[in-house]
Amino acid sequence: EPEVTQTPSHQVTQMGQEVILRCVPISNHLYFYWYRQILGQKVEFLVSFYNNEISEKSEIFDDQFSVERPDGSNFTLKIRSTKLEDSAMYFCASTEGGPENSPLHFGNGTRLTVT
């Protein structure tokens, strides 16, 4: 069964550094998402992306965050200047259609540790 893949599985970075988290969604999917989960807390919506643009973003997704689909297969999340509180598991997901009709397929996440 096709999968969403995320790399790296674990990223350690120093505060103030830029990080790029990478995702390869399922190939025929059209909607892409990033969620994050701080240890022991709930899965939080960051951003959704459709038709090469952001469709929704949460209050967490401020100017430090950006997303890109650079080449038709990858979907990336960039954090420009990491803070300690950015430490979390970041999940990428994709759907064939909008989530009112389609389940989200999640990757297994990138654990980001900011020191």
């Binding site: 709930k42 899965v43 469709s55 989530p99 009112e100 989200l104 999640f106 996440g109």
Partner: protein, 112 residues
């Protein structure tokens, strides 16, 4: 503000019993609701989707109900097994938007 509450952080039941998990929401009119399973260190895995005009959905040992008057969804696992032990998440969303939001989850433990 919008709230999604799952009734308890943890639920322990005996193998073979039915597990019932609750998802309540306030200040929200969702068009649909989804249930996911999450194992430690893994991404959520989809289980069931139910829309606002549907009362009940079933899939094998799973059943979900959606009561828009009570603003509540119930998720049942019948004949529970130790392999059902995991955290179960409900998620809600509206029409024409793509920002599905999750509750905090209920950690289910099924004891043999």
């Amino acid at each position: 503000s919008q709230k999604i509450e799952q009734n308890s952080e943890a639920l322990n039941i005996q193998e073979g019993k039915t597990a019932t998990l609750t998802c309540n929401y306030t200040n929200y009119s969702p068009a649909y609701l989804q249930w996911y399973r999450q194992d430690p260190g893994r991404g959520p895995v989809f289980l069931l989707l139910i829309r606002e005009n549907e009362k009940e959905k079933r899939k094998e040992r799973l059943k979900v109900t959606f009561d828009t008057t009570l603003k509540q969804s119930l998720f049942h696992i019948t004949a529970s097994q130790p392999a059902d032990s995991a955290t179960y998440l409900c998620a809600l969303g509206g029409y024409n938007n793509n920002d599905m939001r999750f509750g905090a989850g209920t950690r289910l433990t099924v004891k043999p």
